[in-house]
Symmetry: C3
Subunit: 159 residues, 3 copies
């Protein structure tokens, strides 16, 4: 058992894998933050979607008026969905990329630009900043994931 344990922890000792784990942890926590921001806006704007969520505001019509959409809530939700659409490919392709043996400096460049772009994207969406701020930050993150996918497919290709 000890031998196995030692082997299984060696992946986490690899510097590229440690960098991947650090940036993936940060960007997934950032994505999780969107849930808290949604909850914050739902409560402060009193805008809910499930009848059982408004029960504490009273019964019948007085509670029903809080079953509504709010522009700020919808904006955070769109940012959250955009995170899912972009961070899921980063996490999956990034793992394969980290295992494909890139240079540490090249890998760090990819991870830093992606995570920086996604943090900027969140601010650009929530403030909101004028376009093309949000669009460009989306395109930068997208390009980084594409670049990692190219390296992975070039290295492992077995169809």
């Amino acid at each position: 058992r000890r031998g196995e344990m030692a082997k299984s922890t060696q992946l986490i000792d690899n510097e590229v894998f440690r960098a991947y784990a650090t940036y993936t942890g940060i960007v997934l926590l950032k994505m999780m933050l969107m849930s808290l921001i949604t909850a914050y806006f739902r409560i402060t704007r009193k805008a809910f979607v499930n009848p059982e969520d408004t029960a504490s505001f009273g019964k019948g019509e007085s509670a029903k008026k809080f079953l509504r959409t709010d522009p700020d809530v919808e904006r955070v939700r769109r940012g959250h969905l955009n995170d899912l659409e972009n961070i899921v490919p980063f996490v999956g392709i990034g793992l394969l990329y980290a295992l494909s043996g890139p240079e540490l400096s090249t890998a760090l460049l990819h991870f830093r630009i992606f995570v920086g772009a996604r943090i900027f994207h969140t601010f650009a969406y929530l403030i909101p900043l004028p376009q093309p701020g949000r669009g460009l930050s989306w395109a930068v993150g997208y390009s980084v994931t594409f670049s990692m996918a190219y390296k992975v497919l070039k290295t492992v290709w077995l169809l």
Copy 2:
């Protein structure tokens, strides 16, 4: 080739990784079940979104009336999206956590509480249970993922 094969299977022989694989398998199957429940409600409530899905009900106006939203369908879909938002971070961070060398008992505690909380969350959403049942189960799962992320970042930090 045999040497590689033996090495690649050792990860799956590690007990913490086996526990991770078991709970991740269960919770991803639970998430996949949401698709079947959505399909069940779409068919029994006759509430579809794509015109081509109602073609078997006839042509023209007679089929068009089934292109509508239904509260039960929308409820399952919200549960499904909430699963995506919470189970994706668990799968990603949980993998890194399993590789970061935690005690088996601590890891099992994290995995069991998360998966239990998400199964409870699904029942709380679909029945639905009065709040704060659903909210609390969401918060428990969220906290478990946060705790694993903290352990991962403390272990691997390389920015």
Copy 3:
């Protein structure tokens, strides 16, 4: 350090893992393509959701009319969400499956059918093809992921 590096790259030398990485890369790139198709339809149909996205069309009422939903945009977005719901379980369960020591030919069969089914699903959704084309391709992908989950849980089960 060299020893670690050598070990960490061995996973990527394993043929089953290489096949997993190839098909996961392809299917995640396919999912990412949905973002570009959404952007294409938003721009050609002039159908946006964020006020700041229509600023280049002028100010006030003249820009406001482009804040609307468009059937083609919504169709691509549904396809994208369906991808997330189905490709996320494939990526997670597929990784565990690839590590659970399946035969290369069996693994390739799973990966090829899943990725083929999801590519067909996208065409079926966007053209759109008459049902049950889209429904069947969804079911095929779903069944492949279920089959891999069964193999994973049978191999690793540690609750």
